[in-house]
């Protein structure tokens, strides 16, 4: 037997076999390589630009946030007493959840908004947890402060009395008093991924809530619940203002849009039989 020739044949055979196996392995590897879908924010921006939709500098948002539970707070007697003073008369609702404070002599104001902020700061309980809400103030023709959680506002529906301070003006535009409600807040459930602001705007765009040449005039991340009740489950939500006139709430977890711009017809169900 010609051992030398046999070796040559084997070398060629194994060489071809190795090439084949190597090619197979390469194919297998490249077939299973999924490219990461690139963040399509560039595309969104292009789409918005093509539609002439302008937006301000977008705020930074955390990658994930948990839901927040807000439980209607019952004011204690001590707390109520601490608000009342010589020129401020304080009463509470029967269930101790709404605090009414009335100035014996209404406060004269030059600028109601600035004065109301100082009233809240000096008289209301937990006052550093409230921020002025331009949207609700304009909607309700009152001076409305909404509660915050870790610096983010807890948005409330237009007709909601929850988690807010409402400063009242008399007919002379003087501050006559305020009412206050408060939510005791706690985090709930696991953190969930948050839509970036551009994606929240895209939700509006995809759902035909934005028209060509619209301008996003304000965008802010906060918490929001569609359901009123003694306990509110508050979801991270983007509040988006368009053309300083239309407002939308975009759930930052599932993208659902609450559009308050046309009030629904209120329907009453059958009463319990």
């Amino acid at each position: 037997m010609d051992w030398s020739r046999t070796k040559t044949i084997f070398i060629v055979t194994f060489f071809v076999l190795d090439l084949f196996l190597g090619f197979q392995l390469y194919q297998k590897q490249s077939n299973n390589q999924f490219e990461y879908i690139s963040e399509s924010s560039v595309k969104i921006e292009d789409q918005l630009e093509n539609a002439g939709i302008a937006y301000p500098e977008l705020p930074e948002a955390p990658k994930s946030l948990p839901h927040v539970i807000g439980e209607t707070y019952t004011f204690s007697k001590d707390e109520i007493a601490s608000v009342s003073s010589d020129d401020l008369m304080v009463t509470v609702s029967e269930d101790h959840v709404i605090l009414h404070a009335a100035f014996i002599d209404p406060k004269k104001t030059l600028g109601a908004e600035a004065e109301s902020k100082s009233v809240v700061a000096s008289h209301a309980l937990f006052h550093d947890e409230y921020v002025f809400s331009e949207y609700l103030s304009e909607k309700r023709k009152e001076l409305v402060f909404i509660q915050t959680y870790e610096g983010r506002p807890i948005f409330q529906r237009e007709d909601s009395p929850t988690g807010q301070i409402v400063v009242q003006l008399n007919s002379d535009e003087d501050i006559s008093g305020f009412t206050q409600t408060y939510l005791e807040t706690s985090e709930e459930g696991s953190e969930q991924e948050i839509l970036t602001p551009i994606k929240a705007i895209n939700q509006l765009f995809n759902n035909k809530k934005l028209k060509n040449q619209d301008e996003i005039t304000h965008i802010e991340l906060g918490y929001y619940s569609l359901i009123e009740g003694k306990v509110q489950v508050l979801a991270p939500t983007w509040f988006i203002e368009v053309n300083e006139s239309r407002h939308y709430y975009v759930n930052a977890i599932n993208g659902l849009i609450d559009d308050p711009n046309i009030e629904p017809i209120i329907e009453t169900g059958d009463d319990a039989a």
Binding site: S4, K7, T8, F10, I11, F14, F15, L17, D18, L21, G22, Q24, L25, K28, Q29, N32, Q33, H67, I69, E188, G189, S190, N207, K208, K209, Y224, S225, L226, I227, G229, K230, V231, Q232, V233, L234, A235, N251, L256, I257, D258, D259, P260, N261, I262, E263, P264, I265, E267, G269, A272, A273
Partner: protein, 435 residues
């Protein structure tokens, strides 16, 4: 000699490489990231899913022949006919105006008529039946009529999808069945059919049929049990870990996850599930039929706890559609008590409001009451309707045999009665004796 050594070394290297490559090929696994501590939400459902063909069923079946009309009002009894129809393959669709065509057809042909409780969109039939590639459109099909006719020297079997509301019908040819198959089934079950006659009521385009003779039917009893509250919250909310009790009054308890609200009426044993998301301006792009979407919504939480059947759909303002499902008790639709009805108001792609009982009789034994009810004959019915000032004869859309369900402390009595549908509402036909 050196060359031989080199060859040997090369061969060894090549053998090792091939072994290594073979090993890698054999054990190849894509380098995916592993999922750590994946939290899954266990899906709770109230009952098994019910397919379309169990929910979209007719409530009456009629067989028309020359001088002979037979009718059947019990869904369980005419189920074999419907099963046969569900196997049919339809083709060659054509849409026509209805006018007086159905009367002519029934008078001139042997035919079989399936009658639904209310109009069903053709989209549902696309999924229910085997249609050819064509997707004929008709919004409100209330009945399907089968017959055979000689056309082009061949006897063919045809089906009409009839919509009185839109005054039109779609004719289709059945490719894989003959009318004789239905006739054979009829011959086998002839004894279970009632003699019916046409009564001159309602729309002139749609003939209504009613039993010639009085009937005596037993009352029934069943025992409802509550569906556990925890099951309801788990089934209805996508993430039960977020659900909180938000409100409680004497007999109402509310739960919410921030987006939806579930109200349980503890004394009346029913619930409302509300999605108050405001939709603002309405888009008009075509959506899948709300009927199909409500069916999927109910199945998603196993809401078909009883044998509920489709019973009506009505469009409302703001793009809403109300779809009603009704309990089929012993083959007949049941009315009145909460347990007999499920109502879903659908808005665009989502549920707006859902109302149903929080009790079930799915595992209950039903007992035949010794008490019987004698039901009106066609002649008596006409007399009753003529005397009634509330019911306008020409507005009657349908008449069917149903059970009136009355709830007592821990049981429900089902009393048979005739029900008429007028102006989209079903009302019991009360005789003077009933009050």
């Amino acid at each position: 000699m050196n060359l031989e050594k080199l060859k040997t070394t090369t061969l060894i290297i090549l053998i090792v490489i091939s072994a290594v490559l073979t090993y890698f090929l054999w054990t190849f696994q894509p380098n995916y990231e592993q999922l750590h501590n994946l939290e899954t939400v266990e899906k709770v459902t109230l009952a098994d899913e019910r397919p379309l063909n169990e929910v979209f069923v007719p409530i009456q079946l009629f067989y028309h022949a020359e001088e002979e009309h037979k009718g059947m009002y019990n869904q369980n009894e005419f189920a074999p006919f419907y099963e046969l129809l569900l196997d049919a393959r339809f083709d060659n669709f054509a849409t026509h105006s209805l006018n007086n065509q159905l009367n002519h057809l029934i008078a001139g042909n042997e035919s079989i008529q399936f009658v639904y409780a209310d109009g069903i969109s053709m989209e549902v039939f696309h999924q229910l039946f085997d249609f050819s590639r064509e997707k004929p459109v008709l919004s409100h099909v209330e009945r399907i009529v089968l017959f055979e006719q000689e056309r082009g020297n061949r006897v063919k079997t045809f089906a009409w999808f009839v919509s009185n509301k839109t005054n039109s019908y779609i004719e289709a040819e059945i490719q894989n069945q003959t009318f004789q198959a239905y006739k054979d089934l009829f011959e086998q079950r002839k004894e279970n059919f009632l003699d019916v006659e046409e009564i001159k009521l309602g729309s002139k385009r749609i003939p209504l049929f009613f039993p010639k003779k009085e009937m005596t039917v037993h009352k029934q009893q069943a025992y409802p049990v509550p569906i556990p509250e925890l099951d309801l919250t788990r089934a209805l909310f996508p993430d039960p870990s977020l659900v909180r009790e938000s409100y409680q009054e004497e007999d109402v308890r509310s739960y919410t996850d921030g987006s939806r609200e579930l109200k349980l009426y503890l004394q009346a044993h029913y619930l409302t599930y509300i999605n108050p998301t405001r939709r603002g301006e309405h888009s008009n792009f075509h959506e899948e039929s709300p009927i199909l979407q409500t069916h999927r919504f109910i199945n998603s939480h196993g809401g078909f706890t009883e044998s509920f059947i489709f019973f009506g759909a009505a469009e409302q303002t703001e793009n809403k559609t109300q779809v009603d499902y009704r309990l089929s008790f012993k083959g007949h639709p049941a009315f009145d008590a909460r347990i007999t009805q499920m109502k879903v108001i659908w808005q665009e792609r989502e549920v707006f409001e859902y109302e149903r009982a929080t009790e079930t009789i799915s595992d209950s034994i039903s007992i035949q009451d010794s008490e019987t009810v004698t039901l009106l004959s066609a002649e008596q019915l006409l007399d009753v309707l003529k005397q009634s000032s509330l019911i306008h004869e020409n507005e009657i859309d349908n008449i069917t045999l149903g059970y009136t369900a009355s709830k007592y402390d821990d049981y429900i009595v089902f009393a048979p009665n005739w029900y008429i549908c007028f102006n989209g509402r079903w009302e019991v036909v009360l005789t003077e004796k009933d009050g």
